[in-house]
């Protein structure tokens, strides 16, 4: 039996790696060190507009280092899938972009990642120079595995001030005010809240905040650690009841499942005044700035999620993407060079570069440069929020391992469309694997 298993494994692994070798042969081999301190480290990142800054930092690093850094990018949507297929093979990078939390948990479990305790012992700045609520996102099983390497992206409630004024409402501070605003806006013929339900993760944002405000951050933490019973708790049911009330009040209109954020549908609703609110990550600002600069200048409002009376969550709590992180593979041949490279993540050059393209870094030296950011008032507002937040909830689909994503997305979508009720939602969340 044992032999069979081994044979099987050899066959499959052999076949799979043969296939991968064929596919990747064209990409060229990585330069091997010749033992004289030279060589290469491969830095793998999510391909998008931020790569500009990453390229710049790699160049800076290469000017002084003997070991050269090479920046590899994988375009957007395919990142996680491709990473998973190369990370345990020969083409694995030395350090790579991730979202912390559940997104690296499977790699930690597989023994692929290096705990960063040693790096931090040699250079305490690798921990102390970052905001704790952000740094902690990449702590798995009590050990740090990631260094923040981009901007923080809290989810905020954006609004169209003009649409609000016409309906005679102000930005809601409490849940009851939100419900009242929904009613007034609906009477005006405006869709109260724009929602890109076609993407599913925007729908999930509503759950993250309502659960935080009602049940407090511990609720989700317990769930993600494997305590499935919390999903059936009274708090959980109250949160679902509140969401149901909001949906039934017509807050999102009727066709949100056909609208997407990713193709520009929901931001356009907000900017054109067809909708009055949108709950979205902080990148909404730059998205709108690109497409509707006039709207951003005159009518864009932003604020935190409303408080809930009698809820356990602190009104200053945030949810969203705390930041992105670099994690390091155990298999790296140049740990010293990697450590040197990571130090750049709290350098002045890094902070200026990120601010310049509209990202908000979470380092201690960030406030010094906020005036030089693309939109100083907005950056300062966000930085203060993140700094003061007692808890910063990582997006659910990133707090759980990637395998859970589909289940979560389907559950939130079906609950919003009324296809399933609270019991089915609770049951779906209880099937999720612990992180």
């Amino acid at each position: 039996m044992k032999r069979h298993v081994r044979l099987l494994r050899t066959a499959v692994v052999g076949g799979a790696s043969l296939a991968m070798t064929l596919a990747l042969a064209a990409c060229g081999g990585s330069g091997d060190s010749a033992g004289d301190g030279s060589g290469e480290i491969h830095v793998l990142v999510y391909g998008d507009a931020t790569n500009k800054v990453e390229k710049q930092l790699v160049d800076t690093f290469n000017r002084t280092s003997k070991v050269k850094a090479v920046l590899d990018t994988i375009p957007g949507a395919d990142y996680q899938s491709k990473l998973q297929t190369i990370i345990s093979g020969k083409q694995a990078p030395d350090l790579f972009f991730n979202w912390g939390g559940g997104s690296i948990k499977p790699y930690v479990d597989a023994g692929l990642l290096m705990p960063l305790d040693d790096f931090i012992a040699k250079d305490p700045g690798l921990k102390s120079q970052f905001l704790p609520s952000v740094f902690n996102t990449a702590v798995v099983d009590g050990k740090p595995y990631g260094i923040p390497m981009r901007g923080t992206q809290p989810v905020l409630l954006f609004s169209n001030k003009k649409a609000l004024a016409e309906a005679g409402v102000t930005a809601p501070r409490t849940w009851d005010e939100l419900l009242a605003a929904v009613k007034a806006l609906k009477a005006k013929g405006v869709t109260p809240i724009a929602l890109g339900g076609g993407d599913k993760w925007p729908t999930q944002m509503w759950f993250q905040y309502v659960y935080d405000r009602v049940a407090g951050p511990d609720h989700f933490q317990k769930a993600v650690n494997g305590d499935k019973s919390v999903w059936a708790s009274a708090d959980s049911k109250r949160a679902l009841g509140m969401l149901k009330e909001l949906i039934d009040a017509g807050a999102f209109g009727t066709n949100y499942d056909s609208v997407k954020f990713t193709d520009g549908g929901s931001p356009a609703l907000l900017a054109t005044g067809k909708a009055a609110f949108e709950l979205m990550g902080s990148w909404e600002y730059s998205t709108l700035q690109d497409a509707y600069p006039d709207f951003v200048k005159s009518d864009l409002g932003y604020g935190t999620f409303p408080t809930v009376e009698g809820g356990k969550g602190d009104p200053a709590n945030l949810a969203g993407n705390t930041n992105n992180f670099y994690s390091v593979l155990k298999s790296t041949e140049h740990p010293e060079a990697v450590a040197e490279f990571l130090k750049l993540m709290y350098s002045d050059e890094f902070v200026k570069g990120q601010l310049g393209i509209g990202n908000l870094p979470t380092t201690a030296n960030t406030p010094k440069f906020l005036d030089g950011s693309a939109s100083p008032a907005y950056s300062t507002y966000q930085y203060d929020l993140v700094k003061k937040a007692p808890a910063f909830q990582l997006s659910w689909d990133q707090a759980y391992p990637p395998a859970a994503t589909t289940t979560i997305h389907q559950a939130v979508q079906q609950f919003f469309s009324g296809q399933t009720g609270p019991d089915a939602f609770i049951a779906a969340m209880q099937t999720l694997p612990a992180a």
Binding site: L8, A11, V12, P106, S258
Partner: protein
């Protein structure tokens, strides 16, 4: 010339009848086994080997990290208990049937029309062919934008689309998927029918005209029967395409709303590359292979494709 060739053929036939494989086949260029080697090697390397690996994987637990663990029949028993799996097979079937039912009449009519030698038909046929040249991805992205409920066509045609929630209902989402595939693939089948319609011997139409048959009767009594084999060919292509519909689902609906357009091919992708359950995904893949094989066997049997009688008998 003839004196040497004839006896050779004769002896080859005899030896075949006597059932001696390996018998001397001389003279006439009957290709040997070696001729099949390149194709066989490619087929083996890129079809059989992966298929075998998928069979092996379907009995393991593997998330892409480390080595696969042997899991026995676990994936299979999970699969058979999985309501989404049953639903996805059902949806694959729905896509296939709707695709055939919608595309076949359209492409027969267009193809027969395009077979005419008139200049305007030639020009328009070329235009109709354009969708096939575009990538499915581009076409899907395009239609997603056109069908946006707030800024696309539905917002201007409320009498037809209501609130425009096309992607929020199962019927709407399936309708869009079938429509987009039809838009893209009808040209291919039109082309097939055009060629076939042009191959129908003109004497048949002349005879029909003399007998007093009009255009409609000519179509139903000559053109359609003559296209019989083409219908089979085209339908098999559609069925294969329908069962493996994937790109349009990925870009237009992501299997939603809920799992309402998650067909087996998309479900397999989701399991493998979103949930990193390669074992479960392999089991779905195998099930899809089995179902597709079964469907094509049944089709071949029912349509007489295996006998493929000529439509030219007596002409």
């Amino acid at each position: 010339m003839t004196t040497t060739a004839v006896p050779t053929v004769d002896s080859a036939e005899k030896s075949a009848r006597r059932g001696r494989p390996g018998g001397p086949v001389t003279g006439v260029g009957r290709p040997g086994i070696a001729w099949a080697a390149p194709a066989a090697v490619f087929f083996g390397l890129f079809a059989l080997v992966p298929l075998l690996l998928v069979v092996v994987l379907s009995f393991t637990r593997w998330n892409g990290l480390g080595s696969p663990e042997f899991a026995g029949l676990d994936n299979w028993s999970r699969l058979l208990d999985d309501p989404v799996m049953v639903k996805s097979l059902w949806l694959s079937l729905v896509f296939t049937v709707l695709g055939v039912v919608v595309q076949t009449p359209l492409s027969i009519l267009l193809g027969v029309w395009a077979a005419g030698r008139q200049r305007n038909r030639a020009v328009l046929s070329a235009v109709y062919f354009v969708p096939l040249l575009l990538s499915i991805t581009a076409v899907s992205v395009l239609w997603r934008a056109v069908l946006d409920p707030n800024f696309g066509v539905p917002s201007q045609a409320k009498w037809l689309f209501g609130d425009g929630n096309l992607f929020g209902t199962q019927a709407g989402a399936i309708g869009v998927l079938v429509f987009v595939s039809t838009w893209q693939f009808t040209p291919l089948h039109t082309l097939i029918y055009q060629g076939a319609a042009r191959a129908v011997p003109g004497v048949l139409y002349e005879a029909a005209r003399i007998d007093g048959a009009g255009t409609v009767r000519q179509f139903f009594h000559i053109t359609l029967p003559q296209l019989r084999n083409t219908v089979v060919t085209s339908t098999i292509l559609m069925v294969v395409g329908g069962l493996t519909t994937f790109d349009t689902v990925l870009i237009l609906t992501q299997g939603g709303p809920g799992t309402d357009t998650t067909n087996s091919a998309y479900y397999m992708y989701q399991k493998a590359f979103k949930s990193f359950d390669f074992g479960g995904a392999s089991a779905i893949a195998l099930l899809l292979v089995l179902v597709a094989t079964l469907v094509s066997l049944v089709m071949v049997r029912l349509t007489g494709y295996d006998r493929m009688r000529s439509t030219m008998e007596g002409v």
